[in-house]
Symmetry: C2
Amino acid sequence: MQIAIPLYDRFTALDAVGPYEVLARLPGAEVVWVAHEPGLVANDNGMLSMQATARFEDVPAPDVVVVPGGLGSRALLEDERLLGWLRSVHATSTWTTSVCTGSLLLAAAGILDGVPATTHWLAMDLLGQLGAVPTDERVVHQGKIVTAAGVSSGIDMGLWLAGQIAGDETACALQLTIEYDPQPPYDSGCVAKADPAMVARLRELSAASAAR
Amino acid sequence: MQIAIPLYDRFTALDAVGPYEVLARLPGAEVVWVAHEPGLVANDNGMLSMQATARFEDVPAPDVVVVPGGLGSRALLEDERLLGWLRSVHATSTWTTSVCTGSLLLAAAGILDGVPATTHWLAMDLLGQLGAVPTDERVVHQGKIVTAAGVSSGIDMGLWLAGQIAGDETACALQLTIEYDPQPPYDSGCVAKADPAMVARLRELSAASAAR
């Protein structure tokens, strides 16, 4: 089972590594990190680099695609090389998935037209503008398309996918292996639970950043 | 605030990237990935590589140290170059922390002698043999030493630390930014909740692997 994870300048590391840490442990899994060119790819704050080992074109028919999000995703909404690759691999994939603003890239490729999907809470409007049906759930699946909410939600998506691919027992064993028994010290992890003033402030910061 | 995260052959990626994704977003944070030598470092299954940008000796006084775990940690329990660096940076750190079997390295360095600490559930006995007081909590802190349980627990630790360093409001904003509102599709994330037969099987597999 080949799993392709695209990397691009200013991706968000946990978007990719969360589901990776689950899916790479599935029996027979082979993960390939693909990019415009092989080599180091820097994340959104430039303080972390991961190695891409193949060009998009080198991996024409992965079984699973996991598109991470990141600040850099918006710069690629018209990148025909990436979008064409996404369209092409989606035609034969078993699962086409995204975390966070990775879904903006699936949508820009036309894969989410009229499809219920999610993204980072700050990008929900844009996801709708790109043709998807924004859906306020942490992991949204329709057929073989699975999208997850912001950053850390990729772990939940990875476990759900593991169950679909290898069964509940294997998924439970993976959950125990990565000791995923979350105990956040705060309860501010989604818009509905966070302080509305904080939500408003982050929306303003995000809008100001996008306008620059 | 300088945050040093050591990388070593066969580290576990999520151990490092989970807390990284929180702590790197703190105001003024600078993350340095340190290793025996700068360059690519491969993870436990060899399917992911991250870039170390400095030698241990290049980073003599980080404010925060986060030691990830991984299959490779046991090969370093007598690695005086790493252990000596850990001892040295612990002398001046504000926070000395670990995720998963990263605590075995802190213990091997003598930093956890008689200190309540945790690790991956499969390594609790070894943690005790190395001088720590194994403690069955997800995040364990005593003074400036903070250890977290297996793999995914580093996100919880990162948020706890963020609260200590920058206050509850900033920590809550970070939780919302990474949309950490966990909804695991199974409830098998720790020994107490998992099927006992599965726990026993994973213990046997781990023992067989360690005996090889």
